[in-house]
């Protein structure tokens, strides 16, 4: 009876693993679809921007608005991917690819935002680049909460979050450019670098 119970329990666990694997695939497909949608939005945005540039149309408010939306979508993808992080047991490689796509998309959006800020000389919105590492790093978590609160209070703020430990050549270049050595580090409006935790009030003082 013990052996039978053990074998059935083992079979149930295998079945559980199989169901879990199916959900892993669904999660990855869901994450991939979200990224694909945002990628299309980015491409659409780039095309629109090129069109404006070639036909000499200057519609900075529209570009700002679209950029804001793009930032919100990226934030949503980031939160979803972070939540999946604790669930991803199988297909780790595919999950890493998903993260890679996400961070590259963020970097692209960050670069685009800089380009628009330069061409429109826009001072209406603020951009924050946030380097974090959530594993055993309470300061990074706290910085994330402070930035979430900032975004809730100031709608014109976009935060691009980057996992400092994630291995990706383009992200390494970004880290090297800003000389990021510790986490958390935030870059305010492309220039001001703050290392270590900084409160919402202090960020507001720096960007306003």
């Amino acid at each position: 009876m013990l052996v039978t119970a053990f074998l059935i329990a083992f079979f149930i666990f295998l079945l559980g693993f199989y169901v879990g694997r199916l959900f892993d695939s669904t999660r990855l497909t869901n994450g991939d679809n979200m990224i694909l949608d945002t990628q299309l939005d980015t491409d659409s945005f780039v095309t629109e921007k090129e069109f404006f540039s070639i036909f000499a149309v200057q519609d900075c408010p529209l570009l700002d608005k679209r950029m804001q939306k793009l930032g919100e979508n990226l934030g949503e993808i980031g939160r979803t991917i972070t939540r999946y992080d604790t669930r991803s047991l199988s297909e780790g490689d595919v999950y890493n690819q998903l993260k890679r796509k996400y961070f590259l998309l963020e970097m692209k959006a960050y670069t685009l935002r800089k380009e628009i800020a330069d061409s429109c000389a826009s001072k209406d919105s603020n951009v924050i680049l946030f380097f974090y590492n959530t594993e055993n790093n309470q300061e990074s978590l706290n910085q994330g909460y402070a930035l979430d609160s900032l975004v809730s209070n100031f709608n014109n703020t976009i935060v691009f979050s980057v996992d400092s430990e994630f291995e990706e050549p383009a992200l390494n270049s970004l880290k090297a450019y800003y000389n990021v050595t510790i986490v958390p580090t935030i870059i305010l409006n492309y220039e001001k670098k703050v290392e270590g935790y900084i409160s919402e009030e202090d960020i507001v003082d720096l960007i306003i």
């Binding site: 009876m1 329990a9 693993f17 999946y84 604790t86 991803s88 609160s149």
Partner: protein, 419 residues
């Protein structure tokens, strides 16, 4: 890639597997029992039974207890009733004497000083002439057919080395929710004893268990000073090669504490007794000589007890970590803290569940419900879910965990034993 790598998640997986394995094991035992019904022995001549009533300040219940015994469906000339007064300070002795004057087969023995229940039973054993020895708590009463059913089990084929037959215990007082909650516990315990009895891993007796007198004498009677002498004698019987079985026909009813405080201290005493006696007979664990009891039941109980402390430590650490995190969030985010928690869509909710763990958990839950229904069927009661059931399933395990911690700490610090 995180889940299998931390000790916490590994522990959760192990516990989930163990829960599925154990619940399935008992379901299989139950199914096998259903397939192979037992033939009950029918006796022409019933043997002499000594009924021992340990009495301490029982002036209110002693007469009804004796009347209840005399009303049993059992030949009166085959009953030897011994009341052992354990130095009562009330009128137990005069009340009992008055009743005994009218009945020749009842004896009253008196202790010069209080010796406890085990001491009273040892006194009764010394004067017992019966082939079987029935411990009858003064606050309990048996259904009329119980004694016959208990005796018949000794005479079933293959039960020659049975040292004791354990009766189904049910609750007499089911008034308030504390009592109702215990009712569920007693129903489940009775059913689990039936299963353990069938798997030959039963190692406890209760207030109205029937012993083979020769077996008790052979192992030198009850352990005086032990917090749970009924558990200790059961362990000692098993240690000496006797089997214990359940009697599935007939019940006995007992009174349970009606207040949380009393219930708390009763359980703490039981759990202390369990810890002490399990350590006393630790040689039985992982010992092939004791079959499934040594290789499965005792190691499982030790593991469950140890895992309780590990669980509290791990979950405590986890919960404290989460609380610290929430405090940080509240401190940093202020009112925006509430924006952080948004309800996910149904699809998102499904995707965020840990299905690998949820799947076996659902199996365990279904098994638990199945066993719950079977347990009620076993004791002949209608199963139902009501508030005390929910309290029993959701709150009582936490309550019980704290009682275990209390009992373990008392045992570690060798606190004075209290009954």
């Amino acid at each position: 890639m995180v889940e299998l790598l931390t000790p916490f998640t590994f522990y959760i997986w192990s516990m989930a597997f163990l829960s599925v394995f154990v619940s399935l094991f008992w379901i299989i035992v139950n199914s096998v029992l259903k397939m192979h019904g037992k033939k009950h022995a029918v006796l022409k001549n019933y043997p002499l039974v000594t009924v021992a009533i340990p009495a301490w300040n029982e002036e209110k219940s002693i007469v009804s207890t004796l009347e209840c015994i005399l009303m049993l469906d059992y030949p009166k000339d085959k009953l030897e009733i011994i009341v052992v007064d354990d130095k009562s300070s009330d009128n137990t002795v005069p009340v009992a004497r008055k009743f005994i004057a009218k009945h020749k087969n009842i004896k009253l023995l008196r202790h010069a000083k209080n010796k406890g229940k085990a001491g009273a039973m040892n006194t009764a054993i010394k004067h017992a002439h019966g082939e079987y020895f029935w411990v009858y708590d003064a606050d309990s009463y048996a259904s009329k057919d119980l004694l016959k059913n208990l005796i018949e089990r000794f005479y079933e084929e293959g039960n020659e080395n049975v040292g004791a037959v354990v009766a189904i215990t049910l609750i007499k007082n089911q008034g308030n929710w504390v009592e109702k909650m215990q009712r569920l516990e007693y129903v489940m315990t009775a059913f689990m004893r039936k299963l353990t009895g069938s798997a030959d891993t039963l190692h406890t007796t209760n207030a109205l268990s029937l012993f083979r007198t020769e077996a008790i004498k052979k192992i030198s009677g009850f352990d005086e000073g032990n917090l749970t002498e009924d558990f200790e004698i059961a362990m000692r019987m098993r240690f000496n090669g006797y089997r214990l079985i359940m009697c599935e026909k007939g019940n006995f009813y007992t009174r349970v504490p009606d207040k949380i405080k009393n219930m708390w201290f009763q359980r703490v005493r039981w759990f202390r007794g369990f810890i002490y006696n399990t350590l006393k007979y630790k040689k039985m664990a992982f010992n092939k000589q004791f079959g499934l009891l040594g290789l499965f039941q005792i190691p499982l109980e030790i593991f469950v007890l140890l895992s309780l402390f590990v669980s509290i430590a791990l979950f405590g650490y986890h919960i404290i970590g989460e609380l610290i995190n929430i405090l940080y969030m509240v401190y940093i985010m202020g009112y925006n803290f509430f924006d952080y928690f948004t309800l996910p869509s149904f699809n998102q909710f499904l995707l965020e569940l840990n299905w690998r763990l949820l799947f076996p958990s659902i199996v365990v839950l279904c098994s638990a419900v199945y066993l719950y229904i079977e347990a009620h069927r076993y004791v002949g009661e209608k199963w139902r879910f009501y508030i005390p059931s929910l309290l029993y399933l959701l709150v009582y395990p936490l309550f019980r965990s704290m009682q275990w911690i209390h009992a373990a700490s008392l045992e570690i610090f060798r606190a004075k034993k209290k009954w």
